[in-house]
Amino acid sequence: MDSVQELEEIRSRVLGEKPGRILISMGTCGLAAGANSTLEASRDELAKRKLTGWDIVQTGCLGLCDREPLLVVEKPGEARVVYYGVNDDRARQIIANHLVNNYIVGEWVLPSDEGTQTS
């Protein structure tokens, strides 16, 4: 690479794209908890529903290894939502409810006081 301008071009291009994204944590902990089938089911469900314009991104560990597989939904201009314990069935339902119908499946959303204790 010859210059920092090239880096800048890539950066603004990638940041500019910003389609809706599904992030699936696929570190060793996520994989052990079945993130591969979460990924497969998500791909399949997006295809079945012909939802183009959504990226599925395989990421690393978020630190909550206990609650894997974790799946994050990023809709442009909206709050990022983290779902936990997302097996393939939950993944399909999250896509139907959250992505398609904007209906967040509260039951599987990581609560804000997760990982904390008042003692």
């Binding site: 690479m1 010859d2 210059s3 920092v4 880096l7 890539i10 950066r11 291009r13 990638v14 940041l15 992030l23 944590s25 696929m26 570190g27 060793t28 902990c29 994989l31 079945k48 529903r49 012909k50 939802l51 991104v57 395989q58 990421t59 690393g60 560990c61 978020l62 630190g63 909550l64 290894c65 206990d66 609650r67 974790l70 994050v72 709050a79 990022r80 939502v81 983290v82 139907a96 398609v100 119908n101 904007n102 209906y103 967040i104 509260g106 959303v109 990581l110 609560p111 804000s112 006081d113 997760e114 990982g115 904390t116 204790q117 003692s119």
Partner: protein, 630 residues
């Protein structure tokens, strides 16, 4: 048959009919026709969805969009916006009035909010297999800045100013190490990333490599520029296959983009990185053993000095840094040293990643500023101890470290304060123990690990860890004596002072620290033949509940040592002296009449008066005889 792009199901159940779905259906049919979509959209009457209170309802396939409370007036918009342009009509989507509380945004989740994620900032946020996502998060900008705007001396100066210390366990100032490597005579020089991570319970290095491998590669390039090296190696254990494959992908993408290789950013600087796989021996995390291992030799340490910075790989000056240490570097260069030094404490700068494991609610990885209290980590981030149990101890620094107890809950987690209480930061593994953990057994576990992992090159470590383990095993089996405690302490001293490398030097730490804080547990095992936590198998007492026993005789027949006595129609009992604690009776009893527990304290005979009195009494009781001992 026409290929429809959309199927629309309009509910014609009684509920929806009464809320006006006939009008919706008619309007839809005519609107589809008038907007010219008849060949592409098929309207279907459907039965009840069971959502009558939200009627009239319809579903648009293939996406499965669910519209509620649709009025005929809404239909033209659905057709023109959704069916023609693919834009969902948001206002008609279902909103649950009850559960429609504001959703937890990612950034509001306290688990993340209470952390300071610098090293882990990209983990879980970007695709590690796509270099462009890393670049979009300012990746490789630090390298660009270093090679085009800074001299090597300036790079080292920033790292020194940052106060960054090695995260691999020793806590050596990183900037000084870079300076030594730069100043050392000899060519070529090497940069090694230590990704051996042998400490049981630690997995932060693995997570960094899996989630953000480019941060480590970028840092190695910067280090290479700073010390005048052109070749780096990542030494990673083969037991981390996901990390290895992501590293491979990352390296090849960086080469493709020209971020590894010749003439980086149009300068004369060039650098490349290769992977070397380790076979997973703990001692190969030690730098001199690691270097031998890369050279294809047996993984054994050698005395230092000379340090690797002077005489390392192939006898050449070599900079060796841990994964997490390196992962801090790009941000230090992108901001500056002072920015980094503003985080943390006086003598420990920046953040630290801890791997939480054991008896804790959230096993996982967290990152906090140096100096955060143990209490914050365990309770506010770790979620506390499960099942309402009581916190007993946290082992930090793995097999080289020691335990922190309840009295240390408010200790600031940083290098020096941990050393002061007989533990150490180590790599950041933290194993939490609750009231059900036996500290003698914990010490035995770690000693078993170091005994197994000792390379055998030096005698104090090879034989010392073996003898210490023998003593600890004896104690957990109820065969320990007072003399054993003295021997253990003496041996610990010898092993610590005479071993060749850090493995042996630190191996006694878990023993010394549990002896320091839980001596009474050792004494209970030795004098009372009693394991207070009820963990040590050989000290457990089996008992038959006479109320529940139906005298079926099954346990008596199964007992391999004939320790169970009883006659037909009489509740059976176990003779403790003969019992081998195998547990067969417990598993066979159909009436759940047999239980296992810590039993009662069984003092040794021949002890001072008051203890001996207990001994006399014990002899009367068939269950608590002490003849096991001699």
């Amino acid at each position: 048959m026409p290929q429809y792009r959309h199927h629309i199901l309009v509910c014609q159940g009684t509920g929806c009919l009464s809320s006006g779905s006939t009008g919706v259906l008619n309007s839809l049919t005519s609107e589809v026709r008038s907007q010219g979509l008849k060949q592409q959209v098929r309207v279907v009457k459907s039965g009840c969805f069971g959502f009558c209170m939200q009627g009239p309802v319809m579903i648009v396939y293939p996406e499965g969009v669910f519209y509620t409370q649709v009025q005929p007036d809404d239909v033209p918009e659905i057709v023109s916006s959704h069916l023609k342009q693919g834009k969902v009509v948001e206002r008609l989507l279902f909103k649950d009035p009850e559960t429609h509380k504001p959703v937890q945004e990612f950034d509001d989740i306290l688990f993340f909010k209470r952390q300071k994620r610098l090293v882990l900032k990209n983990c879980g946020a970007i695709n590690p297999e796509n270099i462009e996502e890393y670049i979009a998060q300012d990746g490789y900008f630090a390298l660009a800045k270093a090679v085009t705007e800074m001299t090597p001396e300036q790079v080292i100066e920033e790292v020194k100013k940052s106060g960054l210390r090695g995260r691999g366990g020793g806590g050596f100032p990183t900037g000084r190490k870079w300076e030594f490597a730069k100043g050392a005579e000899g060519e070529p020089k090497y940069v090694i990333c230590n990704a051996d991570e042998g400490d049981p319970g630690a997995f932060m290095d693995r997570s960094i490599l899996e989630g953000d491998p480019h941060a480590v590669l970028e840092a190695m390039c910067i280090a290479g520029y700073a010390i005048g090296s052109h070749q780096g190696y990542v030494y990673v254990r083969a037991e981390y296959p996901v990390a290895v494959s992501r590293l491979e992908i990352a390296i090849s993408q960086a080469r493709e983009k020209g971020l590894l290789g010749e003439r980086l950013f149009g300068t004369d600087f060039f650098f490349d990185i290769d992977i070397r796989l380790g076979a997973g021996a703990f001692v190969c995390g030690e730098e001199t053993s690691l270097i031998r291992s890369i050279q294809g030799l047996r993984g054994e340490p050698r005395p230092r000095p000379p340090f690797p910075a002077k005489e390392g790989l192939w006898g050449r000056p070599t900079l060796i840094n841990n994964v997490e240490t390196l992962a801090n570097i790009p941000q230090i260069i992108r901001h500056d040293g002072d920015w980094f030094a503003s985080i943390g404490t006086e003598r420990s700068k920046g953040t630290k990643v801890f791997a939480l494991a054991g008896k804790i609610h959230n096993t996982g990885l967290i990152e906090v500023p140096m100096g955060t209290s143990l209490r914050e980590v365990i309770y506010n981030l770790g979620g506390g101890i499960p099942k309402g149990k009581k916190f007993k101890a946290a082992q930090t620094g793995g097999p080289s470290g020691g335990c922190l107890t309840e009295e240390h809950l408010d200790i600031a987690l940083e290098y020096d304060s941990l050393l002061a209480v007989g533990s150490m930061m180590g790599s950041g593994g933290m194993i939490i123990m609750d009231e059900d953990s036996c500290m003698v057994d914990v010490a035995r576990f770690y000693l078993e690990f170091t005994r197994d992992e000792s390379c055998g090159k030096c005698t104090p470590c090879r034989i010392g860890t073996k003898r210490m383990l023998e003593i600890l095993t004896r104690i957990t089996e109820g065969k320990g004596t007072e003399k054993d405690l003295n021997d253990l302490e003496n041996l610990a001293q010898v092993v610590r002072e005479n071993s060749l490398c850090g493995l042996g030097v630190s191996a006694p730490n878990p023993v010394l620290s549990t002896l320091r804080y839980f001596r009474q547990e050792y004494e209970a095992h030795i004098h009372d033949k009693y394991c207070p936590a009820g963990v040590c198998q050989k000290l457990l007492a089996y008992e038959i509940d006479p109320e529940r026993c139906k005298a079926c005789g099954l346990c008596r027949r199964e007992c391999p040592t004939g320790a169970i006595k009883g006659a037909p129609k009489q509740p059976h009992h176990i003779e403790a002296e003969a019992c081998a604690k195998c547990g067969v009776c417990l598993s066979k009893c159909p009436f759940k009449a047999i239980s296992r527990g810590p039993g009662s304290r069984r003092p040794e005979p021949g002890l001072p008066a008051e203890v001996a009195a207990g001994g006399d009494e014990a002899r009367v009781h068939p269950d608590s005889g002490s003849s096991l001992v001699h």
